[in-house]
């Protein structure tokens, strides 16, 4: 419905569904739907009965997850220590950074404004502990702020679901008559300990209560943003050729990579033109590297493809595919590394001719000759399954078998003479047939079998040809003959 990022109108009840045990269940609902009585977790068909005009979309869990991870890093604008909380929350450790935004109340307003500009609805709270903030944000008043000493009072009125317990434990507490967090607090500690001594954290109200009140530590483990490696050179006047600046840029970038112990797999060269346009050139390497000379060489014929327009005054070089890279020394004298030279050769060839031109054939398990060989990237790590068939195979294979006209003595037998590329070949000797049946699990129905012959003509050329099908096999007319390869 609204996949382009436009928010749906507020007056239509819309839910997101996910696959449940007995058909789709409600994953999330908008405000109108919730007002109409839609409960997350119930079945979509039941809710349709309650609310016939309900609109259903399927949820994208992985997409939400990735978006939330990006939002975690985006939230670093307010404080340096952020982490994702479950499937729908962010925890920001704002200790010491609220005064930069004019106090806690002003900070919450600022956050809500910025998030709403992104199209997100947020419920925010400030509290001394993770657990208290979680409960207040979901069940407390709007933009509630909880001081260091107030947690006891502010949490007391909230429902027990605010303790981050699993559904079974919440149900149990409700059956015990403990409906608010305050009621749980009033229960003697010893009784709660005895009742929940074996429960895990998510099912243990005492430990959750201790976490919310700060008696049990719950540190925020912030995740690190990946460092971005980019260098730029600002020019005093617009130029048309970035080549003189490339060696220096490559050296600066590789120095930064070396300092971090990283190598890169891709390079993006971007030039910013004076007329407001941007051009870029990308190159890739087959193994991570940080050698400036090698990286510079990959741009050799590529920078000419940049259309300079009226010139450009800013060049940036950014490393992509950054990964950890260890320095390996495989020879005691510190001499050249043979594998390294091979990867660099493949890089140079791929950069000039494109990655599709540089391949490596590997064997696959198939009897059909053209399927027995696959093309993989030149330095791809492959498990070599290759068991060469014991039958003799030609040294050369044609990409497309070439049809020939054949004279034969008996229909099922070898050819006596054939015309290939307008030349007549008389068969002096032959070996075969070797019958290769179609692979029924891959081929279309009606594919014909092949009978391969190795024939030698009067001049001594050894040719591999096959007859496709048999006479009267009910899969088309007379069988056709093809040349498929040449022997040494």
């Amino acid at each position: 419905m609204e996949r382009q990022g436009n928010a749906p109108p507020d007056d239509i009840p819309i839910v997101l569904a996910r696959e449940g045990q007995h058909g789709p269940v409600i994953h999330a609902a908008n405000r109108t739907a919730r007002v109409n009585g839609i409960l997350p977790g119930s079945r979509v068909v039941d809710m349709r009965a309650i609310c016939p005009e309900l609109q259903v979309e399927f949820a994208d869990d992985a997409g939400d997850h990735a978006a939330l991870d990006r939002l975690v890093l985006w939230a670093r604008r307010w404080c340096p220590w952020t982490v994702r909380d479950g499937a729908d929350g962010l925890i920001l450790d704002t200790t010491g950074s609220d005064h930069l935004l004019g106090g806690e109340a002003a900070m919450l307003v600022e956050m809500e404004t910025q998030l709403s500009l992104l199209g997100l609805t947020a419920r925010l709270a400030v509290a001394p502990t993770w657990g208290a903030a979680w409960a207040l944000a979901r069940f407390g008043p709007v933009r509630s702020i909880c001081g260091a000493e107030e947690a006891h009072f502010k949490l007391g009125a909230l429902p027990v679901a605010g303790l981050r317990l699993d559904a079974a434990t919440v149900l149990l507490l409700r059956r015990l008559g403990l409906k608010t967090i305050g009621a749980v607090m009033d229960v003697p500690r010893l009784s709660l300990t005895r009742r929940f001594v074996k429960a895990a954290l998510a099912g243990n109200p005492l430990m959750r209560l201790d976490q919310a009140l700060g008696k049990l530590a719950e540190p925020v483990a912030s995740m690190d943003a990946k460092p971005r490696f980019a260098v730029q050179s600002r020019l005093a006047e617009p130029i048309f050729d970035p080549t003189p600046y490339l060696p220096e840029l490559c050296e600066d970038l590789c120095a930064a990579l070396t300092k971090a112990g990283m190598g890169c797999r891709r390079l993006h060269l971007t030039v910013f033109k004076t007329d407001g346009d941007v051009s870029h050139v990308d190159v890739a390497t087959s193994a991570s590297t940080r050698d400036p000379g090698h990286l510079h060489g990959l741009f050799r014929d590529k920078v000419e493809r940049i259309n300079p327009g009226f010139g450009f005054d800013l060049i940036t070089l950014e490393a992509g595919g950054v990964e950890g890279m260890q320095v390996l020394q495989n020879r005691l004298d510190g001499g050249s590394d043979d594998d390294l030279h091979l990867t660099r050769l493949v890089d140079r060839l791929s950069a000039k001719f494109g990655p599709r031109a540089v391949t490596r054939p590997v064997l696959r398990e198939s009897h059909i000759p053209e399927r027995a060989e696959a093309q993989v990237a030149a330095l791809a790590a492959i498990a070599d399954i290759g068991a060469v068939t014991p039958q003799e195979r030609p040294l050369r294979l044609f990409d497309h078998p070439e049809e020939v006209r054949v004279l034969y003595a008996v229909p099922e037998g070898p050819p006596a003479q054939f015309i290939w590329r307008r030349q007549t070949h008389r068969v002096a000797r032959y070996a075969g047939p070797e019958r290769i049946a179609p692979e029924w699990w891959k081929d279309r129905p009606g594919t014909r079998l092949r009978d391969y012959f190795k024939v030698e003509d009067q001049a001594g050329r050894r040719i591999w040809l096959y007859r496709e099908g048999l006479h009267e096999d009910g899969r088309g007319g007379d069988p056709r003959w093809f040349v498929h390869g040449c022997f040494a």
């Binding site: 050249s336 043979d338 594998d339 030279h341 091979l342 660099r344 050769l345 493949v346 140079r348 060839l349 000039k352 001719f353 031109a357 540089v358 391949t359 490596r360 054939p361 590997v362 064997l363 000759p369 027995a372 060989e373 093309q375 030149a378 070599d384 290759g386 060469v388 068939t389 003799e392 195979r393 030609p394 040294l395 050369r396 294979l397 044609f398 990409d399 590329r421 002096a428 000797r429 032959y430 070996a431 190795k454 024939v455 030698e456 001049a459 001594g460 050329r461 050894r462 390869g485 040449c486 022997f487 040494a488």
Partner: protein, 228 residues
């Protein structure tokens, strides 16, 4: 003239002139007699050093279309093959020259169709010098080409001849046999042979061809061309 000669002799006696090492790998050219003949490929593969180092195999578009691609099941998987499929002969020469900078390759094989203008004496000279500097064997397989000026150290003309009799089946072709014509060589004496190749033992047997033509006049070297 005499001074030069005596100087050379003195230098040689003093051990200052390096003799060309006959085992150094270099550039060789192979001219198949017919375009679709795989005998040249078979012969080139027997000449490569017996290592597991990868082969860089560069083909231009016409060679691939007209003569097929190398087939791994027939070549064997002992050496990995890095295939480079290009469209122009100039690109093939560039890729071969770039590959010869890499000493870890076992061989560089290039296939060029016809006589493109980019494949001139200078290009072959560059390939030969690079191959000798890196000590990597380099083979140029030239189909539908005329053997004109080239700096290749060895130049072969290779064709298929009827194979040896099969030991168990009189109808079937046996061990492959090739007619080899080394018509120009810098390091050894040119000559003609009929080779039969035993794949099981990886062994190439050379035999002088049966000659039934009239005896050549001259001093016996008339069939050879000047080396160099």
């Amino acid at each position: 003239m005499w001074c030069m000669g005596s100087l050379r002799v003195q230098k040689r006696l003093a051990g200052q002139v390096r003799q060309p090492d006959p085992l150094t790998h270099t550039l060789s050219e192979a001219f198949p007699e017919t375009a679709t003949d795989a005998a040249a490929i078979g012969f080139v593969l027997t000449r490569l050093p017996r290592t597991d180092a990868p082969i860089l195999w560069v083909q231009d578009r016409l060679s691939r279309k007209e003569a097929g691609r190398p087939y791994l099941a027939g070549i064997g998987t002992r050496r990995p093959v890095i295939m480079v499929d290009l469209s122009r002969a100039a690109d093939v020469l560039w890729a071969m020259e770039d590959g010869l900078r890499c000493r870890s390759l076992g061989a560089v094989i290039g296939e060029i169709w016809g006589d493109p203008p980019s494949l001139d004496f200078t290009a072959t000279k560059r390939l030969a010098l690079r191959a000798e500097a890196a000590d990597v064997p380099c083979w140029l397989i030239r189909r539908a080409a005329s053997p004109d000026l080239s700096a290749a150290r060895d130049r072969w003309r290779i064709g298929a001849v009827p194979s040896a009799p099969h030991p168990h089946d009189t109808q079937a072709p046996g061990l492959p046999r090739w007619s080899l014509d080394l018509f120009r060589s810098r390091r050894s004496k040119p000559g003609q042979w009929v080779a039969s190749y035993d794949r099981a033992q990886d062994r190439l047997n050379l035999a002088a061809p049966v000659r039934d033509r009239t005896l050549a006049t001259g001093d016996g070297t008339a069939g050879e061309r000047a080396a160099g």
